[in-house]
């Protein structure tokens, strides 16, 4: 695909959880809980509030088409702020410090005062109906000649458990939001920029790690298309595919638009009650519906069922809109007969509605109120097909296709957070912020300074265990040994089903130091760590699993083994070293360094040969 020719423009919004001890606007810990541990539950309705300018946000309006009662799980680690029962605490200074550090790494300009806003979110994911957010810095640069437009600090939303049930443990964890300009021109470039930003964030050592702690929103448009915001891409590896599929969708929608115009297609918006047509139906969905409504899309035949993304059709787009009214979906004649609807029924349906061969018919089945609402939404979306690509917020589906979520929100969703005082950022403070070394730079330094090979250096620099490595090296452990122990041995442990989380950094460093001092062999590291992970102290583990073997003891052992095989050794000469070494190691493995064994054996053999 020639992306330059179609005018692809993409921008990123990256949300990364910060690894602070407390939440952004309260003192609860930033721990995510198992929802089964919840010890309380409250339920709330949300309503639309107007902005201070007197406007209502269109996205919010659509989210609340159905008044829903949301349920929230609470925990012994959450408090009144999370359930919107208490005013927020002042903005967490640690979180602001991390955000300013990152802003400085992108060479941005901080705002002299941070003003917290409320961004209205009424899908239930915030108990208050808004997310607190504040712009912190503007206009910076990143590699790949891209620009960071803004950096904001904001609070994380609730986790959805199912449908209208949410968990408040995650609500309020500080997030940084990094918004780039629409500077990316190919899907791969989007991947690379996201990767670079992710690396920069991790370089601070102050962001959370693991699944769900970073999310990318991608803004995509092509020439003649429209800006579409795709929310919540969690896997970096999928990001380029998401962009590719969105391009495909926009191109397909533009082609459908041209075809509709060529066919003189019409959406007249008339809705008919067709319940009677299906009075004898065998379709399970239609059978249990109180009302079935239908509409004719003149000139749409074959286009509603046209695939515009893998497993997605224009019909799926209409269905997404209809679902806002609480219906399960829709049927269209491009896919019928199917789902228990017979050819005869389709025939009667088309005839009843006067649909010609070029026309498509859409039906929905539910209560009258839901059907009327759904039909309005379907007709609205069908009319949009004449414009090509609607501006939308979309959510990612498995594999990288997307579904409609809501219209793009506007400025009316923002309202000042009146409960929080502005926070000044002084020149002195900004200048005092130290910038951490980038992980990519660190990896290069590990090669040149510590002699790690490039692969290991990179793996170590990007590992969550980097602080442990740096501490071990600072305390005198040889870097290569430290890196090997941390990367290989800890992985081995987890492969063996032993959680390395039970091992403290102190214990791991103590084990490494024991080996470095010659009090245990390198070969025993895994066994010692295993014993420690099971609760043994480092000294007990060393003496039980790998009691040290002294050089004198080794000399005696080697002497005995060699004495028993004098003839063999004399016959084989130097070639006897290997087999005899094997016999010795069998006795001492893990208790003394192999290098020492080799030295002692060499000496002993020298006396015989």
């Amino acid at each position: 695909m020639d992306y330059a020719a179609i005018g692809l423009k993409a921008g990123l919004e990256i949300h990364q959880q910060l690894n602070t001890t407390e939440k952004l606007f309260c003192h609860s810990p930033t721990v995510v809980r198992d929802s089964a541990e919840h010890n309380g539950e409250i339920s709330r309705y949300l309503r639309i509030a107007t902005s201070e300018m007197g406007d209502v946000d269109r996205a919010a309006k659509e989210e609340l088409m159905n008044q829903r009662l949301f349920t929230y799980y609470t925990y012994d680690s959450t408090g009144l702020v999370e359930i919107d029962e208490e005013p927020p605490a002042p903005l967490n200074p640690d979180a602001l410090d991390v955000v300013l550090t990152i802003a400085k790494m992108f060479d941005m300009t901080p705002l002299p005062e941070i003003h917290t806003m409320r961004k209205m979110i009424v899908d239930g994911s915030a108990t208050s109906g808004f997310q607190r957010t504040a712009l912190v810095a503007l206009n910076g640069s990143i590699e790949h000649s891209c620009r960071v437009e803004t950096i904001a600090v904001e609070e994380e939303a609730c986790q959805r458990i199912e449908d209208t049930i949410f968990s408040v443990d995650r609500l309020g964890i500080p997030l940084i939001e990094i918004t780039t300009s629409p500077c990316m021109k190919t899907p791969d470039e989007v991947h690379d920029v996201a990767q670079y930003i992710g690396m920069t964030l991790r370089s601070t050592g102050r962001v959370k790690r693991g699944i769900g702690t970073i999310r990318q929103d991608v803004n995509v448009s092509i020439r003649d298309g429209a800006r579409v915001e795709i929310k919540g891409v969690q896997e970096l590896d999928l990001i380029a595919e998401v962009v590719r599929r969105e391009v495909q969708r926009q191109l397909s929608l533009l082609a459908i638009k041209d075809e509709l115009v060529a066919r003189n297609a019409i959406v007249n918006g008339e809705v008919y009650d067709v319940t009677a047509v299906f009075s004898q139906t065998q379709s399970q969905v239609l059978k249990k519906a109180r009302v079935i409504l239908g509409t004719v899309l003149h000139g749409f035949n074959g286009l509603v069922g046209l695939e515009i993304q893998p497993d997605r059709r224009l019909g799926s787009e209409m269905s997404d809109y209809a679902k806002k009214c609480g219906v399960g979906g829709l049927f269209h004649t491009d896919e019928l007969p199917a789902y228990g609807v017979t050819e005869a029924e389709v025939h009667v349906l088309k005839e009843t509605l006067g649909a010609g061969p070029n026309d498509a018919v859409i039906i929905v089945a539910a209560t009258e109120q839901k059907c009327r609402c759904a039909m309005q939404m379907i007709i609205r979306r069908a009319k949009m097909a004449f414009e090509g690509v609607p501006e939308e917020t979309r959510k990612m589906l498995e594999g990288g296709s997307t579904a409609y979520m809501r219209p793009l929100p506007g400025a009316a969703r923002m309202y000042p957070e009146t409960d929080i005082l502005p926070v000044p950022v002084t020149k002195e403070y900004w200048e005092s912020i130290a910038m951490p070394e980038l992980l990519s730079v660190k990896a290069e330094r590990f090669v040149s300074e510590y002699g790690l090979d490039a692969g290991m250096a990179r793996q170590m620099a990007f590992s969550e265990k980097l602080p442990l490595f740096e501490r071990a090296v600072a305390e005198g452990v040889r870097p290569v040994f430290a890196a090997r122990t941390i990367l290989a041995s800890l992985k081995e442990l987890s492969r063996a089903g032993i959680s390395s989380e039970t091992l403290s950094d102190d214990a791991i460093i103590a084990v490494m130091k024991t080996v470095e001092a010659g009090n245990a062999a390198k070969e025993a590291v895994l066994d010692i760590l295993t014993a420690c992970a099971k609760g043994m102290s480092v000294s007990d583990a060393v003496s039980r699993v790998a009691p040290a073997f002294s050089r004198e003891e080794l000399q005696d052992l080697v002497h005995d083994i060699v004495s028993d095989r004098v003839d063999f050794i004399r016959t084989r000469g130097k070639a006897a070293l290997g087999p005899v070494m094997g016999l010795v190691m069998k006795e001492v493995r893990g208790r003394i360094d192999g290098k020492v064994v080799s030295e002692v054996l060499d000496e002993e053999l020298g006396r015989i040969i």
Binding site: R44, A49, M53, L111, H115, T418
Partner: protein, 411 residues
């Protein structure tokens, strides 16, 4: 620069140009609302005015549809969180919403009743005072005379119980008078204002016939409680269910969103009392919380007051060294009522020696009255009686449910 609120501006900051709207100043800084909706704060010198474009048409004010077949209620708005929006003078919230704004923002109200709205004042509740209680009570009286079948008073929650108690004492009412507020401001999607207001309207058309406070019964949006105005306290600074009945169960509840009203057996019912206004109040009364080690001069400072309510310890005591000051105060004509700091129970000054000394000093036992309610009642009693024995009798008579433990009264 002569920038005014809502003026379009261009901001040049960090090497970029941004469009926005000037909001207000914070020292040398300008607060500007960017087109993204974010407010930013930048040196005012970086803002330049832009030519005003024809302003976008504001949505037309929706006319209030009133269903003539529904009962008539009056909404009297006094201010408070239920009616608050952002105030760019301080950046905090203040009370600006009118009763009509409330009706527009909560369309469900239109299905319950038709409304007459009035707004005698717009204040945060800490700014309420006895003169306002009187004006409010007169307004309610007039509305009932004009045919209101129920009254809803929107009020800040902090002093709502004082106002509600004052209306209770000043007005005999045949219809429900429902005080309602919000703990979370009306500008947020999660505000409790809508649910409380809808429940209050349901209560106002119900069979109730007394003054109550209607607020969330718990932290969920499932039920409101109706608390008798003379037996309620705000027990939490911010939770939705801050209001709780003290020493008794609520006089009613409303299921939400169904709107089913359930009244307690002893709730005063609609139409059982005649409409009567008795709005005299003597406002120079005080309320004093005794604390260990209190300097008796604090009590002397109330010299010249018509009345003083003391929230004493336990069964109703103060330190012995305060008794002389109290004796002087009563001798100079101040009525002194003893109540308790305890959450529940009744004062009894005959058990301990200090109590007997207090009675000798001329203190009147306030029974189970909440100190705040005793203060309001004392203002009303002093406004309606002058003879000492009448004052004592009235203070110790249960007038509006304020003396919950009559049966165990020790007097």
């Amino acid at each position: 620069m002569n920038l005014n609120n809502s003026d379009p501006v261009t901001v040049e900051f960090a090497g970029i140009e941004m469009d926005g709207i000037f909001i207000n100043r914070s020292g040398e800084h300008a607060i500007v609302k960017l087109s993204s909706g974010y407010n930013i704060c930048v040196p005012e010198s970086l803002c330049s005015p832009k030519e005003k474009t024809a302003s976008a048409e504001k949505p037309a004010v929706i006319p209030l549809n009133q269903d003539a077949s529904l009962p008539l209620l009056s909404i009297i708005s006094t201010g408070g969180t239920i009616a608050s929006t952002v105030d760019y003078r301080t950046g905090a919230v203040s009370s600006k919403f009118t009763a009509e704004d409330i009706l527009r923002s909560i369309p469900e109200l239109a299905g319950i009743a038709r409304y007459h709205t009035l707004q005698p004042f717009q204040v945060l509740s800490e700014n309420m005072n006895p003169a306002m209680w009187q004006e409010l009570t007169r307004n309610i009286h007039d509305e009932i005379l004009k045919g209101a079948q129920g009254i809803i008073v929107t009020h800040g929650t902090d002093t709502m119980l004082y106002s509600a108690a004052a209306v209770s004492f000043m007005l005999s009412t045949p219809v429900p008078i429902i005080f309602v507020g919000a703990q979370r401001s009306a500008d947020r999607p999660s505000s409790d204002n809508a649910m409380n207001a809808i429940c209050s309207a349901k209560a106002a058309v119900s069979d109730l016939g007394e003054v109550v406070i209607c607020m969330h019964a718990n932290e969920s949006d499932t039920k409101c409680a109706l608390h008798r105005a003379t037996r309620v306290r705000k027990n939490h600074t911010s939770r939705r269910d801050a209001f709780q009945s003290i020493g008794r169960e609520p006089v009613g509840s409303i299921e939400y969103p169904e709107g089913t009203v359930v009244l307690a057996k002893d709730a005063v019912l609609r139409g059982t009392k005649e409409l009567r206004l008795s709005d005299n109040l003597v406002s120079n009364c005080g309320l004093l919380q005794y604390y260990p080690g209190m300097n008796p001069a604090v009590i002397d400072a109330f010299k010249g007051y018509k009345g003083l309510v003391i929230a004493g310890t336990g069964l109703g005591h103060v330190g012995t060294d305060c008794i002389e000051s109290i004796t002087r105060l009563t001798a100079s004509g101040t009525t002194v009522i003893m109540t308790s700091q305890c959450q529940a129970g009744s004062v009894c000054d005959r058990v301990y020696e200090t109590g007997r000394d207090l009675l000798d000093a001329g203190v009147i036992e306030g029974g189970s009255m909440l100190p705040e309610v005793a203060l309001v009642k004392l203002m009303w009693v002093l406004g309606n009686a002058t003879r000492k024995e009448d004052i004592r009798r009235l203070m110790q008579t249960n007038l509006k449910g304020e003396l919950e433990y009559d049966l165990w009264r020790c007097a």
